[in-house]
Amino acid sequence: MTREEVRQVVLRALRDVAPEVELTGLKPQTRLREELDLDSMDFLNFAIALHEALGIEISETDYPRMATLDGCIDYLATRLRI
């Protein structure tokens, strides 16, 4: 899997939890929770969607590393050894 594929998985998972948000203009460094108005349940569902798509366990203590789009991709790429 490439970084770009991981990025697509992340965007798809975000679209699932925030279907009404336009994601094309999402800046890589913006904090997702604030930008997309995700509450804790949305974020959990986002993590579950990533878990289901990529088959990795994501620990609660790793959530801070997933605060931005770039952060998510970096974190998941590390976990997937890309």
Partner: protein, 420 residues
């Protein structure tokens, strides 16, 4: 013979469109089962049935819009003989407590199967023509705002007696809640585009506004608040979550919900509904949870029997409820059954909330966000995760003393999270 009618899911609901039958004539139906889907002005609702028997005949077909109270289908109750179809009569039932004229275009008249007669709808407060009701039962039902059409009579020829009404009142009947506007009936929808969405949002704001204005006008609120040390609850939750796969991980909101539900057992008068000048204590603790919808507005469907469910089961139900609230798939009972509401503005919100009671409930609990703050423990100042809990309650039913005991009980329960 029983009737399955178009339910009232909000004080301003005049009519609904039958979208789909989940059961067909001849199918057995169980109390609590979803029988049909109905589109109201405000959303798609799965409608449950409150009788057990066999769906005998369908009178309203998908696509038809009919006023609330219209008989959608007849139900042959368990043990009863099959009715010849000609004996059934379509009756438009009176709507309870609906005085307002429709704000939107009036609903078209019900489309009737050929050969059936529709008597004009009786004025509000009058009773359906077919009912045999003793005067005492009628008086009590009026007092308690119980819809007599949903009471099964035990008297001669099925006449409804006072004790039948008493029984229904004691059963925490869904009927009672249906007579009042359930929080959130106005607030679910399927994702739709453009103008229709704007129109729905407008109607939702109107419905929320109407309910809140009624609350502010009629309910003498009092408020009490306390700060709760969440250290134990948060640590316990983190420990639990370490052992769990992602989908089973709980958010701290669930311990707040469970603590509120258990505290209501100690102060059951807060778990009441106010109807026609009387507070009726409810035997079940159905906690309405306010869920913000992504496109604006909110809905507060009920977690049934929250005090009796193990926290794992309650968590799964809560997740499911949030998901369905946001995708517009709530059930009629979830919108009509809440006996108290919890509002929590999440981790990114404010520290203190002053909630407004949702009538006919008599209390609402608010939680601010969880914050790390200095806290004194055993003479030393330490940093602790704290949450501010607020209770707004109806002064006609309780006083600040009972309200403060309630918040103290919530605090105490949260100090022993493993027992929740």
């Amino acid at each position: 013979m029983g009737d399955f009618v178009m339910p009232i899911l909000g004080a301003d609901m005049e009519a609904g469109t039958l979208v789909e039958w989940r059961k067909q004539p001849g199918d057995p139906v169980q109390r609590g089962e979803i029988v049909a889907e109905v589109e109201t002005d405000k959303g798609l609702i799965e409608v449950e049935i409150f009788q057990t028997g066999v769906l005998e005949k369908i009178f309203v077909h998908p696509g038809e819009k009919v006023p609330v109270g219209t008989v959608l289908a007849s139900i042959r109750e368990e043990g009863a003989a099959a009715q010849p179809a000609a004996a059934a009569t379509l009756v438009v039932r009176p709507r309870a407590a609906l005085g307002e004229a429709p704000r939107s275009a009036p609903a078209p008249p019900p489309v009737l199967p050929p050969g059936r007669v529709t008597p004009p709808p009786p004025p509000p407060g009058a009773q359906g023509q077919r009912l045999r009701v003793s005067p005492a039962a009628r008086r009590l039902a009026t007092e308690l705002a119980i819809d007599l059409t949903l009471v099964r009579g035990s008297g001669p020829s099925g006449a409804i007696l006072r004790e039948d009404v008493d029984r229904v009142a004691a059963e925490c009947s869904r009927t009672v809640a249906a007579a009042a506007p359930p929080l959130g009936a106005e607030a679910t929808w399927k994702p739709i585009g453009g103008e229709e969405r704007i129109e729905r949002q407008k109607r939702m704001r109107q419905a929320i506004g109407a309910a809140m204005a009624r609350s502010k006008r009629e309910i003498p609120h009092y408020y009490v608040a306390t700060t709760i040390d969440m250290q134990r609850a948060v640590s316990w939750l983190a420990e639990q979550n370490l052992k769990r796969p992602l989908p089973d991980r709980m958010l701290y909101g669930i311990v707040l919900i469970k603590a509120v539900a258990l505290a209501l057992r100690e102060l059951p008068e807060l778990n009441s509904v106010w109807l026609e000048g009387v507070a009726l204590q409810r035997p079940s603790v159905n906690v309405g949870v306010a869920i913000a919808l992504r496109e604006g507005g909110l809905v507060a469907p009920a977690l049934h029997d929250a005090d009796r469910q193990p926290i794992d089961a309650l968590w799964r139900q809560f997740r499911d409820l949030v998901q369905r609230a946001r995708s517009g798939r709530l059930r009629s009972s979830e919108l009509a059954d809440s006996t108290i509401t919890i509002t929590s503005l999440g981790e990114r919100g404010v520290e203190l909330v002053f909630p407004i009671i949702y009538p006919p409930q008599v209390a609402i609990v608010g939680f601010g966000k969880l914050v790390e703050r200095p806290w004194s423990v055993g003479g030393a100042v330490v940093s602790r995760p704290l949450v501010n809990a607020t209770l707004a309650a109806d002064h006609r039913v309780t006083d600040g003393h009972r309200g403060s005991l309630f918040l103290a009980a919530v605090d105490r329960l949260l100090q022993e999270p493993e027992r929740l």
